[in-house]
């Protein structure tokens, strides 16, 4: 019962999502009206680690925490790309993850969106030019939003996700 008394004590820990730095989230094209209508309230995300250092993953894991609470926007994470609407890709795409990333993209049903998180996803970051890297994410699959940062804050990631579906 100490658990429940602690729950009552803490109350709601969710912080409101404020507008952030405009340059961090880059939308590559206008949001499709269909995507906005379909995914505006319910979005399923499949996270793909295409060879990242897991720094971005740690920030993404903060999204489901009570502080950032992505679920209040209707966003939830799923295990299978067949259930997903959006792929959240991190990491410079390493050679070994190039084909799996492509297969994940193909396994996702249309309509779908891709949000690439972190500097590595945009430009291979510190791993640029390495023999193990195949290229940035947009060289493997089409990307809709880039979120810059190494790693980006969870709030920025959340803003990036919402920007892809045309919210905020």
């Amino acid at each position: 019962m100490r658990l429940f008394s602690k729950i009552l004590q803490v109350g709601l820990a969710t912080e409101p999502l404020l507008a952030g730095d405009e340059d961090v989230v880059r939308l590559l094209h206008d949001v499709d009206a269909r995507a906005r209508r379909l995914f505006g309230r319910a979005l399923a995300i499949r996270e793909v680690d295409a060879g990242s250092c897991n720094g971005c993953e740690l920030e993404i894991s903060g999204l489901t925490s009570p502080v950032y609470d992505s679920e209040r926007f209707g966003v939830h994470f799923v295990a299978s790309p067949r259930h997903a609407d959006m792929l959240l890709v991190t990491g410079p795409v390493t050679r070994n993850m190039a084909v799996p990333l492509l297969k994940t993209y193909e396994a996702t049903p249309a309509p779908k969106l891709v949000v690439a998180i972190g500097d590595c996803a945009r430009s291979c970051g510190v791993f640029k030019g390495s023999y193990a890297v195949a290229g940035s994410v947009d060289q493997i699959i089409p990307v809709d939003v880039f979120v810059d940062g190494c790693p980006p804050e969870p709030a920025d990631i959340l803003r990036g996700i919402l920007a892809a579906v045309g919210r905020r």
Binding site: S80, A107, P109
Partner: protein, 677 residues
């Protein structure tokens, strides 16, 4: 009706004789199938005519065999039901056999196979028609011998000869027990006709009646496949040709139930409560152990054989409950329980026959029964897959098919017992209900495994990859049984009413049984429960159609794209990556590990230079059914030891043999002298 009876005899006789006289194997196949179909259809016709006309059929030929009152055939309602069962399964299996036995062309004698098949069906049809002990035993033994020869058809397979030996030994053991039962029963009767036995049984002492019943349970139970006398079943049924397996599993083991009902219910007229309790206990044990061993099998036909043990257990639960309620005087409950057991026997004949025929199609196409080498057959054999699916749904007891209706009825027949105040009846019935539910769930799991691993996903071997659909005769045979599965479920109400008349007049059961339902629904006595199989089926069909139409026309997206199976982005997918039959049953193996007691053999080949490197690892885990390990193996070992010792008599020396002769002669003379004095 006598005409139809003679047609039945003629059909089978024609099939047998023509098969033997056929010029080629192909003609033999077709001619024997024709004879069997005619005979089977006529047999079914006789039974249906009996139910329609209610006129008993009596054919007595005392002159044919001047021993023990000769041959006498007398058809009454109980026999007619089982005759109908035989005919119902005989026709599709014979049709199927015409196409199936083509695989034996040139390897084995199809003339012999065809003749034996017809004789097997003939003797099986005549067992329920037997009117006196001699006829019954002759037909019984004929059935056993012909099926033995049929089991021994495929002698190329290594297991067949052993299977035949087990089968022969156990069926003759059963015959000895049945013979003893009849001898005890006929002790005080004038003739050995069943009518006389019935009247004489009333005068027997309770001890004799109990002895007769026990011998009958053991003897007929071994034919039916009750644990612990079932060990021949998982050996003989897989070894036989598939249409013969279907007949043996679907029909022959039900004749064990017939024998027990004839002796226990009809001739003895019911008995004390412990008779029913014994049957329930044996039935429950068979049901649970049967399904548990079925789950662990990787051989498709052995899985089906163990599943037959399970279903016979369920039938015996119903029959035992009937005996029990009869002894307690609860007549409507007894009628319901016995009818439910018989109905389940009929349904099992239909869906187990279908499943064995389906397994035969798989065997015909891929030449293997090992589920770990099958898979993906639904693409090459769509019809066989569909029929096997229907059989699986039926045996798992899922609505709207026949298995569900008979399971529902079995549940409802046990329920009055839970509220009974007689000693120990309530706990027994409660446990029986629990076991019934458990076996239902486990059977569903087992047949997800059987159908899913065999027919779905990716082929696990090249034989499975190149599987082709069965020829038309095989598909027609399976189709008939699939339709029967559907029809028997939908026609539950008239069939249950007919079963009421089958049991009428036996052992104090009322001559006019109260209808177990009217119109479209089944109603149990005292309106305890009601269910309408037809309306459930109709409801399911209507709702499914409604859902499909709703999704189609509601504006939902209609796009469909084919892609790779999701495997976390792996590059390729091979058959090694999918679930195997052993893997599927693994959670249940662990849950019931105490019961299975699997052996574990791990042998590791280390590298000669260092123990940290391994050249090969071999792991073997086997499940030896504990009935065989603790009951049969010691007995067989002891018999072998005595046989080795007895071999000393056969020394090969002529002097020793002459000595034996002299001793025997002297001994006989002494006995005669003593008796004379």
């Amino acid at each position: 009706m006598t005409l139809l009876f003679l047609l039945m005899l003629a059909g089978y006789a024609f099939g047998a004789v023509a098969a033997v006289l056929s010029p080629t194997d192909g003609v033999a196949r077709r001619v024997s199938a024709l004879g069997a179909v005619v005979g089977g259809g006529a047999g079914l016709g006789v039974a249906l005519a009996f139910f329609a006309l209610q006129v008993p059929l009596v054919v007595e030929v005392p002159a044919l065999l001047s021993v023990a009152d000769g041959l006498a055939f007398r058809l009454d309602a109980l026999g007619a039901f089982f005759l109908a069962l035989v005919g119902l399964v005989a026709v599709p299996c014979s049709l199927y056999g015409a196409g199936y036995s083509e695989a034996y062309d040139g390897r084995y004698s199809l003339r012999f196979l065809g003749a034996m098949l017809n004789l097997f069906l003939l003797t099986m049809s005549l067992v329920p028609c037997a009117g006196n002990v001699l006829t019954f035993l002759l037909m019984w033994e004929g059935m056993s011998l012909t099926s033995y020869f049929l089991v021994m058809t495929d002698t190329d397979e290594p297991d067949t000869i052993q299977a035949g030996a087990w089968y022969l030994a156990m069926t003759h053991g059963g015959l000895a027990l049945v013979l003893a039962a009849f001898l005890l029963l006929a002790g005080g009767a004038a003739t050995t006709a069943f009518a006389d036995l019935r009247t004489a049984a009333a005068t027997l002492s309770p001890a004799t009646r109990n002895a007769v019943f026990l011998l009958a349970v053991l003897g007929f139970g071994s034919k039916a496949g009750l644990i612990p006398l079932h060990v021949w079943l998982p050996r003989a049924h897989p070894a036989a040709p598939s249409h013969v397996s279907a007949l043996m599993s679907g029909v022959m083991i039900k004749l064990g139930v017939y024998g027990l009902l004839r002796v226990g219910l009809d001739l003895l007229g019911g008995g004390p409560a412990w008779w029913g309790a014994l049957l329930i206990v044996l039935g429950a044990v068979s049901a649970v152990l049967g399904v548990l061993y079925a789950l662990m099998e990787n051989d498709l036909k052995r899985l089906l054989a163990y599943s037959s043990v399970e279903n016979i257990g369920l039938v015996f639960i119903g029959v035992g409950a009937g005996f029990l309620f009869l002894s307690l005087g609860a007549i409507p409950a007894a009628t319901l329980a016995l009818s439910a057991g018989l109905y389940h026997a009929l349904n099992h004949a239909a869906f187990k026959g279908l499943l064995f025929l389906g397994a035969g199609s798989v065997l015909h196409a891929t030449h293997t029964r090992d589920m770990n080498r099958l898979g993906g057959l639904i693409r090459g054999m769509p019809w066989s897959a569909l029929f096997f699916l229907i059989g699986s749904l039926a045996i798992a007891g899922l609505p709207p098919l026949n298995g569900f209706v008979s399971e529902w009825l079995l549940f409802q027949s046990l329920l009055p017992g839970i509220g009974s105040s007689a000693t120990l009846v309530a706990p027994l019935m409660t446990l029986a209900v629990g076991i019934l539910a458990l076996t239902g769930g486990l059977a569903a799991a087992g047949f997800v495994k059987a159908f899913g691993i065999t027919f779905l996903a990716i082929p696990r071997s090249s034989a499975a990859e190149h599987a082709h659909e069965s020829p038309r005769s095989m598909r027609v045979g399976m189709g008939i049984l699939a339709v029967a599965c559907l029809g028997l479920g939908l026609a539950a109400v008239p069939i249950m009413s007919a079963l009421g008349t089958v049991l009428a007049g036996h052992a104090g059961l009322p001559a006019a049984a109260p209808p177990l339902g009217g119109g479209l629904s089944l109603t149990t006595p005292g309106t305890f429960a009601r269910m309408s199989p037809t309306l459930v089926a109709l409801g399911l069909v209507v709702v499914t159609a409604g859902v499909w139409l709703g999704v189609r026309f509601s504006g939902a997206a209609r796009g469909l794209r084919v892609g790779d199976t999701w495997g976390c982005g792996r590059i390729a997918q091979t058959a090694r990556m999918e679930y195997t039959s052993t893997a599927f049953a693994e959670p249940l193996r662990r849950v019931f590990a105490e019961l299975y007691r699997p052996t574990k053999d791990l042998s590791i080949d280390f590298h000669p230079d260092s123990r940290y490197f391994v050249q090969s690892i071999e792991y073997r885990s086997e499940i030896v059914p504990w009935v065989e390990r603790y009951l049969y193996a010691p007995v067989i070992e002891r018999v072998e030891r005595w046989a080795v010792r007895a071999r000393a008599i056969q020394s090969g020396s002529a002097h020793a043999y002459l000595t034996y002769l002299v001793i025997a002669l002297l001994g006989l003379l002494t006995i005669l002298l003593v008796r004379g004095a």
